[in-house]
């Protein structure tokens, strides 16, 4: 639940950033002021009191920065900045941008085409249930006797041990 509340609070902060910045400045200003008052009460000179107060506080800018990073949605801030920067660059050199975009488009297109082809021809498994069990049987006529061409050492008899289920007979026409 904590993270949800935090996220909600961060989202809300995006819309009132300016107001929150002013509030933070005022809050930290009061802090320094309180510290100065305390130091004056301890008998420091005005200048020393201010210097000491700032030193006790640590880096004002760092604190503001880490506060801001925690407050809004810095990721989207920087994303927006990048998009705006890209848009400005494109507007500045539209010709170059067009060539770059075209190059990228052609490159991606060509890659996709080649991959689609490779995928269809080489990578994709055949549309059957257990592609790993597929066996290709070739009937090769050797001097008028028909034998199994893929296992030259074994006699056709040993093939009887194996069971084949014929799901998609793929026969080149010449083999028939």
């Amino acid at each position: 639940m904590d993270w949800l509340r935090t996220l909600l609070s961060r989202c809300m902060a995006v819309f009132v950033e300016k107001k929150l910045d002013e509030e933070l400045n005022e809050e930290l200003g009061s802090h320094i002021e309180f510290a100065i008052q305390d130091n004056l009460r301890r008998g420091m000179s005005e200048e020393d009191a201010r210097r000491m107060a700032l030193k006790q506080f640590g880096g004002l800018t760092q604190v503001k920065e880490s506060y801001r990073l925690r407050r809004g949605l810095p990721f989207f801030d920087s994303l927006g900045q990048d998009v705006r920067f890209a848009a400005r660059q494109i507007m500045r050199a539209p010709g170059f941008a067009a060539v770059a975009i075209l190059t990228l488009a052609l490159g991606i297109g060509a890659n996709t085409a080649v991959f689609t082809l490779t995928h269809a021809l080489l990578l994709r498994t055949l549309p059957v249930r257990d592609p790993g069990e597929l066996v290709r049987l070739l009937l090769v006529p050797i001097i008028s006797t028909i034998t199994f061409g893929w296992s030259p050492s074994s006699s056709p008899l040993s093939m009887r041990q194996m069971t084949f289920s014929v799901r998609s007979p793929l026969m080149p026409k010449s083999a028939v």
């Binding site: 809050e27 802090h31 309180f34 006790q56």
Partner: protein
Amino acid sequence: MGENKSDVLQGTLDLMVLKTLESLGPLHGYGIARRIEQMSDDTLSLNQGTIYPALLRLQQRGWIKAEWGTSENNRRAKYYSLSRIGKKQIEKETESWERVAATMARFLTTSD
């Protein structure tokens, strides 16, 4: 204020803030920072500024709430106080911190 300031674990600072608000009531950032410094006899002098990200974190979780008020010397300041969720959370945080401390103590006292 010494040079080697011990780093404070995030959760530790959170609990210190919660306990401060529990015992002293609504307080501004400077007050909380001073209280923590005093309670630790200035040995654990954190940069007072580090209290603000911690306060924001606690606010975002809904454990504390902030309201603008006027200080005794007539300056506008943000006053923090415990929320209902925060009050419940103190117990949980205290428990888990005590467990860590007990474990550490066991490590530190065992000699063999």
